[in-house]
Symmetry: C2
Subunit: 325 residues, 2 copies
């Protein structure tokens, strides 16, 4: 049992019989230290359980060891964002970084004490996003920012392409008139889906059938949209907003018209619905990890500002889009 005094680099140096500079250099692999000494210091540090003091380090280096993370507070999408958040946190932990959450609710007196920012689905018009973009901190967003200025890094997915494949699949399953419920253009994700849908319709000479809802649409809103679409001869419904498909499933079921159903966001709910709902798996945890990784590369200079990366997504075909004759 040691005394309670904290073990600093001086303790390690003293114990190893070297100066604090040598100890520091040895542990960080910088400077000129013989291999023998390096190992010796490392052993002592390990034995004493030395942990560098983050505050001191960051005071010296003028950094914080923390990245900020903002996600829109939309509870209907919570499962997607929760996974995203966990992905960011785990990737950050691999780089020995902490993650500080920035919510829209908190009014911030001070700028966050972070080295960089990850923005999950930045919505145009969100004041918190605007103010974060204005900090000048290195920033990575998941999906493009639907405004003029772009973050230093962007991770995005080919939603339009994947929606096209989903529509192809639905057509193969017998649908001739698929409808779309999608949110407005304040999110780049929704905007991409909308564009992709219209492009597909043009290419396949199908009359578009779209109903827009708000980004955080609740069940009533998406059901109303679905009902409106059902008034026309629609035979397949693609729901963009997370949770929307499961909300309208009972409605379609009750109508008994055999309308096919698919979601643009996969989740436990779509997977476990009865029947299971075909959905686009956005792989949110991997998306979060990818954003964090890109941010660290930007911070270390490994990646250039303006880098964009494509995050692969997948199509999960399930019973809800098998034709019911």
């Amino acid at each position: 049992m040691h005394a309670d005094e904290p073990v600093t680099i001086l303790t390690v140096a003293r114990e190893a019989g070297v100066s604090k500079t040598t100890a520091s250099d040895a542990l960080r692999g910088s400077g000129r230290v013989s291999e023998r000494t390096r190992e010796q210091v490392a052993r002592v540090a390990e034995r004493l359980g030395y942990v560098p003091n983050g505050s001191a380090r960051h005071l010296r280096k003028a950094s914080t060891g923390t990245i900020g993370l903002h996600v829109p507070e939309v509870l209907t999408r919570s499962s997607y964002y929760m996974s995203f958040v966990f992905g960011v946190v785990e990737q950050a932990a691999r780089h020995d970084y902490d993650v500080t959450l920035i919510t829209s609710g908190q009014r911030r007196a001070r700028p966050p004490r972070v080295d960089g920012l990850v923005l999950g689905d930045p919505l145009s018009g969100d004041p918190v996003v605007e103010s974060l973009m204005a900090t000048g901190l290195p920033t990575v967003s998941c999906e493009r920012f639907p405004g003029d200025r772009q973050p230093d890094g962007v991770v995005w997915s080919e939603h339009a392409v994947m929606l096209g494949r989903l529509l192809d699949h639905v057509r193969d399953a017998g649908s001739t008139r698929p409808g779309l419920v999608v949110a407005g253009d304040e999110s780049d994700w929704a905007a991409s889906l909308h564009r992709g849908y219209l492009a597909w319709c043009t290419a396949k000479r199908v009359e578009p059938l779209v109903r827009r809802v708000s980004f955080d649409a609740n069940g009533d809103e998406v059901r109303a949209a679905a009902r409106a679409l059902l008034a026309t001869p629609m035979d397949a419904l693609i729901c963009a907003p997370a949770g929307a498909a499961t909300e309208v499933a009972p409605l379609l079921h009750a109508s008994g018209t055999g309308v096919l159903l698919a979601s643009c966001v996969d989740s436990a709910a779509t997977r476990l619905a009865d029947p299971p709902i075909t959905a686009i798996d956005l792989r949110p945890k991997e998306a979060g990890a990818s954003c964090a990784e890109l941010l660290f590369e930007l911070l270390s200079g490994t990646a250039e500002p303006g880098t964009e990366r494509v995050h692969p997504i997948a199509l999960a075909i399930r019973a809800s889009t098998t034709p019911r004759p």
Copy 2:
């Protein structure tokens, strides 16, 4: 436009014509400073946009200005935990604290750089929770820790009492044999519900009808449990796990036996289900805020270690428990 040099307390002091000590004292309200000087310094600091350097402050004070937050990574409960997390973050922001997420996934080389910990629903046997409890940091948990040692502060809710009221309500609606689907005793919340149910059954001389599922039970698992209960003459089903009620709703609907349905966790999904599902509103955001608040009081010495606080919850009665004759 100023030069880019960072504005420190020395800048403020120089500009205000006082020493750094006086500037520091003036801004923090400590020491002996005349009211005139205090205002003068405050004005200058405001004008220059002075922001204290957190690293320097915490290096000096041996604290970090950050609290750690752990929640189990259970995606089926994500909406509850998401709200909880946001509640913690916003309360922390009010105290000018940051929140760092601690996930079970990350293997931690170092102890987190935090002043204290909030544990949302600590599960017994969770190795991350165990290791966090072992750090000796001031800790507050939401719900008791179902182990031997308790955290320094606990925020809990009267789940058993509220379940009793829910059961009373269901009985008033005509049920004579309510069943319960509940998770195991690794969470204190589930354990309380189970105890409460058994106590109610004893008091009302009703034969208990319980099926246990795992804490992160998926739809299949809860549906299997519900089906097993339906084999006996059950006329109301109380689902404890978040999301469980909405998962079994179609099943009950299909059975067409008019079984009443209620959930022990409210959410957008239960609210918007068809018919809307009666549920206990755990007010997760307020719970998170309450945990954070208690932690800050512990840190500042305002609250005694061992403090327990009751977090009020509410019953939301909806159509799913109105008798269908």
